[in-house]
């Protein structure tokens, strides 16, 4: 098993890692010749948020990249995000970062060589990793879902986060309603009162569905845990170009986020009453 690459866009990767840390402390990295995927799972499988970040290898490793393994030239391992964050932070002023898979005393490590921009100092950093088999990785794939009932392009995520942040004082559960007539409603309710925010004039992405237009419902709602959705909305810090929200009735809520050539997909559990 071999892996060696020069890392570009390390600042963006650092921001992504900092965002991942809002969800959990560790992640799984799955590197293939075409893409780098980060899988972050919060808490337990039943009740947690699942996030998949996909980065094109071409953009982050460019041409100086070689990967070899018996499993179709794919490598997957578990890594602590804080370690990755620290290394990327120390590389913030460097243009020359090399990553290599190494073994020290038969333990696997991700080995970083960071040359400062003035070429005077060289930093060496080793992050311990836990290699995973393809079988183990197969247990962490994205949930298989039918077509979503409803989907919409979200308005500015930062303001949505502020609104929901005030709503959390009233209830632990948020009701999201998406209408295929360009409307989005957020609502919290408690014996003390209720707050409802209503957005109109939004856009819907075109989705290839198997449903005919007549079968599509006008609107659908999902109840989510407010703390969890607030964690997801931190992605606004990366100033995404597009955020799409889908409701899979009775199953989950999905956010699909596009930040330049990176995509992040969040799966949130729905509370069923």
């Amino acid at each position: 098993m071999k892996f060696r690459a020069k890392l570009y866009k390390s600042k963006i990767l650092l921001k992504l890692v900092q965002n991942m840390m809002k969800i959990h402390t560790e992640c799984v990295m799955h590197i293939t010749p075409k893409k780098i995927r980060f899988i972050v799972n919060s808490g337990d499988i039943e009740d947690g948020i699942q996030v998949f970040y996909d980065l094109p290898s071409e953009s982050f490793f460019e041409n100086e990249f070689s990967i070899q393994s018996i499993a179709n030239n794919e490598i997957q391992f578990q890594i602590q995000l804080e370690n990755l964050r620290r290394v990327l932070l120390s590389a913030i002023n460097s243009n020359d970062i090399t990553i290599r898979l190494t073994k020290k005393q038969s333990e696997p490590y991700l080995h970083f060589v960071i040359k400062s921009s003035s070429s005077t100092v060289v930093l060496y950093q080793d992050i311990p990793i836990i290699l995973l088999t393809t079988q183990q990785l197969a247990m962490m794939t994205e949930p298989i879902l039918p077509d979503p009932q409803v989907y919409i392009q979200m308005p500015d995520i930062k303001t949505i986060q502020n609104v929901i942040d005030k709503m959390k004082n009233l209830s632990e559960q948020l009701v999201i309603t998406i209408s295929m007539k360009s409307q989005l409603t957020l609502q919290v309710e408690s014996p003390a009162g209720s707050i409802t925010t209503h957005y109109t004039g939004l856009s819907h992405p075109l989705i290839d569905t198997n449903k005919g237009k007549d079968q599509a419902p006008d609107s659908s709602s999902a109840i989510v845990d407010i703390k969890k959705i607030l964690k997801v909305l931190h992605i606004h810090q990366l100033k995404p170009e597009e955020v799409v929200c889908c409701i899979f009735e009775g199953k989950c809520l999905l956010f699909h986020v596009i930040i330049q050539d990176v995509s992040a997909t969040y799966y949130l559990p729905i509370i069923i009453k």
């Binding site: 996909d54 994205e142 879902l145 979503p148 392009q153 308005p155 303001t159 502020n162 609104v163 005030k166 959390k168 004082n169 009233l170 209830s171 632990e172 007539k181 360009s182 409307q183 014996p191 003390a192 009162g193 209720s194 707050i195 409802t196 925010t197 209503h198 957005y199 109109t200 004039g201 856009s203 819907h204 992405p205 075109l206 989705i207 290839d208 569905t209 799409v244 889908c246 999905l254 699909h256 995509s263 997909t265």
Partner: protein, 327 residues
């Protein structure tokens, strides 16, 4: 084919939402100055440092809201020793309508007084959260409409920021009349002082102390503020060479009055000065009632914010007070 591959270019359609208020409405007030209201209401929120919690169950501050054809006011009492009150005049709003219950034939006989205002208990923190729902920056384009349907109905805020709408419906409950305080009998001292001077006078106090002594007297130095605490004794006096007319805008100082107050209760009275107060009328009575009447200014509007604090009972002296006796 994953969900990602299904997304392509967006489509667009426009439709205004349907919203209707079905209940009978007895009060409507509308303004674009949402942030000003939030600022005024926030001045009476007292922050209890000991009980600051992060869970939603503690996010309460129940106040009495009174709505009359002239004003809408919010006040709360803490026991019998502290009261905070703020009000907004009907002229502050772009639209203000209040319909009081009309006298019916059967009421004439028993001679009961008709209410001159609607009164109910409501969670002020929820109102402030509602006002700030789209952010608390001063340059927000948020308009707010207050709506109330009468006894038992919720107090509703309808907010609009560039087409995005929020509705905040807050439960109302029965309330009691706020405490009243006698600010005249038997003798009281009054001063009207500009807020900057007042802020300066109280600004450098040792806020870790638990008590503050406030003295108003017809003799120089007229106004004295003293604390005794972990950092030692602190005393503020105005320049003894200055005449009363030079320090105060106006004053009525009949005799020397000095009282001890709990400093945590005085703190919010002073914090309110930082929110755009122009001047304050301070009243201190022989019986130990202290009142701050601030005039807060937003744009061209003036808003009274009133704090009333009762002195620590004169029977509760301890050895520390010997350091703070008046000469």
């Amino acid at each position: 084919m994953s969900i990602r591959d299904k997304f392509s270019t967006p489509t667009q359609s426009n439709q205004m939402p349907h919203s209707a208020l079905e209940q009978d409405i007895v009060f409507i007030a509308k303004t674009d100055n949402t942030q000003d209201i939030s600022k005024i209401l926030s001045t009476i929120v007292k922050h209890d440092s000991e009980t600051k919690k992060k869970d939603s169950s503690a996010h309460n501050l129940f106040v009495t809201c009174k709505i009359s054809p002239q004003t809408i006011s919010f006040s709360y009492d803490e026991g019998k020793h502290f009261q905070a009150n703020c009000s907004l005049k009907s002229t502050f709003f772009e639209e203000y309508k209040c319909e009081l219950p009309v006298q019916s034939a059967s009421n004439n006989q028993d001679g009961t007084m008709l209410p001159t205002a609607y009164s109910f208990k409501v969670n002020l923190l929820m109102i402030i959260d509602g006002l700030n729902i789209f952010g608390s920056e001063a340059d927000n384009n948020t308009s707010v409409q207050f709506v109330y349907g009468g006894y038992g109905k919720p107090f509703i805020l309808l907010l609009n920021e560039n087409g995005v709408m929020a509705t905040c419906s807050i439960k109302t409950m029965d309330t009691e009349e706020p405490n009243t305080f006698d600010l005249v009998q038997p003798v009281s001292n009054k001063i009207v002082i500009d807020s900057e001077s007042l802020l300066e006078a109280f600004g450098e106090l040792d806020y870790s102390s638990s008590r503050v002594r406030i003295t108003l007297s017809p003799d120089a130095p007229f106004f004295k503020v003293q604390t005794t605490g972990n950092m030692g004794n602190f005393s503020m006096e105005f320049n003894p060479e200055k005449k009363a007319e030079e320090i105060f805008e106006s004053c009525e100082l009949n005799q020397s009055i000095s009282h001890l107050f709990q400093l945590p209760l005085i703190k919010p009275c002073i914090k309110a000065l930082a929110h755009g107060s122009a001047k304050t009328r301070l009243t201190l009575t022989v019986n130990g009632i202290l009142q701050f009447q601030h005039i807060l200014q937003t744009g061209s509007h003036l808003h009274p914010v009133i704090f009333t604090v009762v002195a620590i009972s004169p029977h509760h002296y301890d050895e520390n007070d010997e350091n703070m006796q008046m000469d």
